[in-house]
């Protein structure tokens, strides 16, 4: 559509430089594609460099420690815990965290129920609270097996749930995003909230492990 002088100029020399056309099998192909897309979209005024930078900064600032702080507060503040379970979105907003376009549902582990989160259709995940999802969460293995054999999957993470407990799997296929509220581990009673936040791993908030005092 737009005459790209630079591109035309380069193509005049195409036959003199046979190795320059990127090959999908070469390393760096997708790095090039990402850069090309960004340059073009900014040049065309679809987005601004500022927009991209701002979003990148936000993305980089997201960390599971934020989710950990939510859990730790729920462990130490029963009223907050009640609000968290009733309306997760509003409760995390109290702590300065946003859910963006999604809504948060917090599911509580109890003596009777263990919760586990998956997105079988893609990789929906509470990114604003936990950052980017780990590779395994997005893998075919997890997405396919978490729903059909959750207990076997949990075992692979070193988590064994006895048969007298219920395993509840949540497939986040719509506008809800899920966070598991694990049980506070024994031996941590009376710990300050900052210390408690440190023992809540991302994996515990996805529900594949349970936190330990260790």
């Amino acid at each position: 559509m737009s005459t790209d002088d630079r591109g035309t100029h380069d193509h005049d020399h195409d036959h003199d430089h046979p190795g320059t056309t990127p090959d999908v099998n070469e390393t760096g192909y997708y790095e090039l594609m990402a850069e090309a897309m960004k340059e073009l979209l900014i040049e065309k005024g679809v987005v601004s460099a500022d927009d991209v930078r701002r979003n990148l900064e936000f993305l980089d600032s997201r960390d599971p420690v934020d989710g950990g702080r939510v859990i730790a507060r729920a462990w130490t503040d029963p009223e907050f815990k009640k609000r968290l379970l009733e309306d997760g979105t509003a409760a995390v907003e109290e702590m300065g965290l946003t859910m963006g376009d999604a809504e948060l549902v917090v599911v509580e582990n109890t003596d009777d129920v263990h919760n586990m989160i998956v997105c079988t259709l893609c990789s929906c995940y509470p990114r604003t609270l936990l950052g980017l999802p780990p590779d395994w969460y997005k893998s075919k293995s997890y997405r396919s097996r978490a729903v059909i054999e959750p207990r076997a999957v949990l075992k692979e993470f070193g988590t064994e749930i006895p048969d007298d407990m219920t395993v509840r799997v949540h497939d986040s296929n719509a506008d809800m995003r899920y966070l598991v509220l694990p049980q506070q581990p024994e031996g941590t009673e009376g710990w300050p909230v900052e210390k408690l936040a440190e023992i809540v791993s991302r994996d515990a908030m996805v529900g594949v492990v349970v936190p330990e005092a260790g």
């Binding site: 056309t21 090309a36 980017l132 729903v147």
Partner: protein, 100 residues
Amino acid sequence: MNQRQHDMGGMDAGPIEASAHEAEPWAKMITSLAAAMRDHDIMRIDELRRALEDLPPDVYEQDYFERWSEAMVNLLEEKGLLSRDEVMSRMDAIKEKVGD
């Protein structure tokens, strides 16, 4: 009726590799690019998911951010915002400039 490629619940699959490495800069960048477009309501997450689901099977087999990139190019072309040819040309140009 066949289960579509993205609709993975219950499909045959192997053990879970508990690897979790930090996303590469280019992967974070396209994520931010998509987010920026969503902010301006230019490209919706639903459209991007649909573009992913419609990828040819061999492209869908690629790693996560690789297939997202391909879906993005297809979707942006569909919307008339850029063309795959333009992207390829620009990749050429960047590669030459960098001297690889």
